[in-house]
Structures are given as structure tokens and as C-alpha cells.
Symmetry: C2
Subunit: 176 residues, 2 copies
DNA sequence: ACATAAGGAGAACGATCGTTCTCCGCCTTG
DNA sequence: CAAGGCGGAGAACGATCGTTCTCCTTATGT
């Protein structure tokens, strides 16, 4: 196992454990057990827990944003496709809300900056898709609201309700 | 200082510290320093940290829900008054998102049940105010979405955007 | 006034955390 | 084959946590 695979295993274990149990509740020893990477190597690749947390969030940001972008580009109604993609996300068995919002709530001002860049990236994507300026702010509220509601009541329904609202907003901005 | 005042001081300190820094990041010694109540008395009133956390969330739930209910009952447009009240909340200098969502993100399955009852109470209030059945689910998404967006970008603007969406929804349900 | 109980201040205790160190086996290289 | 260095397994270390205990002051009751 070379360093690159060790890094991947560490990030996989970190993502699984940090997302499920929270960051402060998971010790480095559980990362080691979950990844199979010895502590010595762990600290050579990530010199401190903080850098592992940051790397976990940054990788999740890249994958999440790329997945969403790929799902909506080319769709007949890109704005509505966002909520279809959210519905599928909310239905994953271990869905537990937005990892970045959870990290912000837990760490407060000590949260890594990727928390803000992740939300800025989502806002930028919505601004690309929105047919009217100013609509992106409203769509962001719908997406965040659906995610938050689904965090406590898992399932696709919040995304469906948010999609209905988005349809109304699109009709209002693009009167048929 | 009798036990009742000690309890109030403890809950005040707990609310300030837990809400600002997160629950796991605040030790019992800081609660003691912040409240001026000695550890011995603290543990006589709250036998463990978990019960202090639960009491903090339960008191905040009662106050938050009562404040919101009082602000919207009797308003000319109760549904829209919800978002005006949210705008004022988001503008408080130490606003840091929904305490219950933060606790859920941090503690996961170990979060006290009041997290769910708080969200159920908000949903029930919205169902009282909504002029049509099914609208409450959508209003809940708007309120949660505005709160989430404001948690990372403090200020009243998310509540204003959510209020605009609510106006559109009300017009759609009650065509003039 | 004196015995007694209660309360406060802070030390102490065991557990756990993030991080480092020790020791041992193994693999490479001449 | 021999020597040396690297990596893994887990103990160890200091800090901090939640919780309890000790010790001393203070107030009370007769």
C-alpha cells in the first residue's frame, strides 16, 4: 500500500466516521482502526487532526459539487434537476444533512474555510442555471431548506416540496 | 442565591457558551466560571452534562416558540410575519443558526429528543397559519432554508428572500 | 458558646483525547 | 549473508474532560 492509497483510505474512513458521528466525537484511533493505516503513517500524511478534517471536507466538496453539476448540465430543466438530484441524495440510507453545515455548527469560528467556499460554489452554480438574476438567492434557500428538513426527517419528500416551489418561481419569472 | 437563581444562571451560561462554541467544545468548568455557580451545586441541580444540555435546549425551545407565536398571532398577514420575525432574529449580533440543528449535527443520534419536538412545534405552528393544507411543508422549507443561509451569511436578507417566495406561494393558493 | 450540618473553592481521579516514542520485524543492498 | 534503515503495532505522554472528594469556612439550633 503506497501513500496515495493510504491517503484515500484515511479520507474514506474520515468521511464515514466524521459525517456519521460528528468531528469531535471521533478520535484519531478510530480513524486508524477504520482505515487500517497505522498512526505513524497517518501523522506523516496529515500532520494534525485539523488537516485531516480540512482534507475530508475539501474532497467531499469537490465530489459533491461535481456530481451535482454533472447531473444538471444538459437536463431539459436544469433548475428542477437540482431538486431531483437532491431527492436522490436525501434517500441515501446514511444521509445526515449537509456535512459543511454540520461542521460549521459544531466548530463555529474554528471551522475550515472550505465550509464557506462550498456554499459559495453552490450559489454560483445556481446563478448559472437561474434564468433571471436574483433567482439564485431564492433557489439557494429552497435547496438549503430541503436539506435541513431532510436532515431530521430523511427521505425525498422535502426535495419534492422544494421542487414544487421552484416550479412556481420559474413560472412567475417566465410567464407562459 | 437560592437554587432557582442558580439554575437560571447555569442555563444562561450554558446557552451562551453552548450556542456560541458548540456543546462538546465547552467543558463543565467553563459553565462554572461563566455562571459563578460552584461545581458541587451544578451537579446537584444537573446530575450530568447531558441533563444540562437537554435543559438548555428545552428552555430555548419554549422561549423561541413562544416568542414566534406571540409575534405572528394577530398580525395582518401571519405567514409573512414569520419571516419578519426571522429577519430580526438573523440580525442579532451573535446569531449562529438554529441551535437545535447545530446540536443534531454535532451529536447525531445522541442528540436529545427536544431537537425533533422543536421542529415538530414549528411545523405545527406553520400549519395553523397556512391558509391551505400542504402549504405548511413548503413554508417550513422556506424558514429552515433562510435560517441555514443566514447561519453562514448573517443578516436579514435571507429572511427577505424567503418572504418574497412566501408571497408568491400565498398568491398562488389565494388567487386575487 | 459549642456541636453540627451545609456550602463553597478547588484539588484529585479515572478516562479519553491528540500526538509522540519505543521496540521489533522485515526488506534492501553490497 | 550481514548490516542498516524503514515501517508497523501499540505503549506512553501530557493535556483536558466529566465527575467526585477534601477541606475549610460559615451559619444554625439549643
Amino acid at each position: 500500500m503506497d501513500d496515495e492509497e493510504a491517503r484515500t483510505r484515511l479520507l474514506d474512513a474520515a468521511e464515514e466516521l466524521f459525517y456519521r458521528h460528528g468531528i469531535q466525537a471521533v478520535g484519531m484511533d478510530r480513524i486508524r482502526t477504520g482505515s487500517g493505516v497505522p498512526l505513524k503513517r497517518l501523522y506523516r500524511i496529515f500532520p494534525a487532526k485539523e488537516s485531516l478534517v480540512t482534507a475530508y471536507l475539501e474532497r467531499r466538496d469537490r465530489r459533491w459539487t461535481a456530481d451535482l453539476r454533472e447531473a444538471v448540465t444538459g437536463a431539459p430543466e436544469p433548475v428542477l434537476a437540482v431538486f431531483d438530484w437532491l431527492a436522490a441524495w436525501f434517500s441515501e440510507p446514511d444521509f445526515r444533512g449537509c456535512a459543511f453545515l454540520n461542521a460549521h455548527g459544531e466548530l463555529g469560528a474554528a471551522a475550515p474555510p472550505v465550509v464557506h467556499t462550498h456554499k459559495a460554489a453552490l450559489h454560483a452554480l445556481l446563478a448559472e442555471l437561474a434564468p433571471a438574476p436574483g433567482l439564485a438567492d431564492q433557489l439557494l434557500i429552497l435547496a438549503e431548506g430541503a436539506t435541513t428538513v431532510a436532515a431530521l426527517n430523511p427521505g425525498p419528500e422535502p426535495a419534492h416540496r422544494a421542487r414544487e416551489i421552484a416550479e412556481v418561481l420559474l413560472r412567475a419569472h417566465r410567464p407562459s
